[in-house]
Amino acid sequence: MIDFYINITLLSFLVLTAIAITRVRNLFSVVMLSGMYSLLTAAMFVMLDAVDVAFTEAAVGAGISTVLMLATMALVGEKEAAPKKRFSLLPITIVLITGLVVVYGTSDMPNFGDPAAAIHNHVADVYIAESGVKTGLPNIVTSVLASYRGYDTLGETTVIFTAAVAVMVLLGSLIHPKKREDEE
């Protein structure tokens, strides 16, 4: 039962953080809050048995992303202007509809954690049953990531590569000695 309470607590904190992010207008606080959000998410992932994901989320979400956003903020300033537009119904509508559709979709799903759900009994069961024998690795996530779905991971690596190249494109490559950007 302790799991249950931890779970509830974490989720409540997540909601609070998310709402705080929408309200706060100091970007520095927002970035910090989003780092917190990532850490809470990571903790949540641990609760849900996704240790690899938790590790990654902690390293990326709370680490790299936060550092990156801080670096950005150092360059662009940290104050968000007060909303100039009148309160508009459109965003609320879009968000509500999206939320309702997700609720609609999830409410027909098997209960949370239900071992009989289709998701656990079609593809994943085979991974659990045979990956240890076929790859010799105890970490199923690693064997699925690198071998069964190794192609996805190749793509993922390429995505990171693309991001690095894109940043070079936008802000100038490291190779060139430091100088002011030539665009302006």
């Binding site: 799991d3 249950f4 989720l11 909601v15 998310a18 929408t22 927002v30 970035v31 990532s38 949540m44 992932f45 849900l48 048995d49 996704a50 690899d52 994901v53 979400g61 990156l68 956003m69 950005t72 360059l75 662009v76 300033g77 968000e80 202007a81 909303p83 100039k84 537009k85 508009s88 459109l90 965003p91 999206t98 939320g99 997700v102 409410s107 799903m109 209960n111 949370f112 954690g113 239900d114 759900a117 998701i119 593809v123 994943a124 240890g132 105890p138 199923i140 996530v141 699925v144 779905r149 996805d152 991971t153 995505v159 991001a163 690095a164 894109a166 940043v167 936008l170 802000l171 302006e184």
Partner: protein, 129 residues
């Protein structure tokens, strides 16, 4: 744990909505980007929640364990997180450039600049025709 029912998913929905709301409603580009992160993170949580098996443990094989949580969502979300940070990096770089080009990162001010640019163009156009 089964008493939770679908509670987990619905909390995720709330997170998702707040993330999307930031993206749609806020004009500050940094905030938008963070909203995008929140939105994506909540989707990741939805996936991981789907992979949870009651009474299961992390999918690392061990003699003594019988029930494991579903590893596939974990794999997918690992990829998802990477994609997310990649997007954040590109977005942040774009914001830095936009700040330099326009002197602001508020959407409506940028729009104002662009409309002005368009109008000066149009004025030139009229003299030409």
């Amino acid at each position: 744990m089964s008493s939770l029912g679908l509670y987990n998913y619905w909390v995720v929905v709330v997170l998702m909505m707040s993330g999307l709301y930031i993206v749609v409603a806020h004009g500050n580009l940094v905030k938008k980007l963070i909203g995008l992160n929140v939105f994506q993170a909540s989707v990741f949580m939805m996936y991981i929640s789907m992979g949870k098996v009651a009474g299961g443990t992390a999918p690392i094989l061990d003699e003594s364990i019988k029930v494991y949580s579903n590893p596939l969502p974990h794999v997918l979300i690992l990829t998802g997180i990477v994609v997310g940070v990649a997007t954040t990096a590109v977005g942040a770089a774009l914001i830095v450039r936009i700040k330099r080009a326009y002197g602001t990162i508020e959407e409506y001010e940028i729009e104002k600049h662009e409309i002005e640019e368009e109008e000066t163009n149009a004025a030139e156009g009229l003299t030409c025709f």
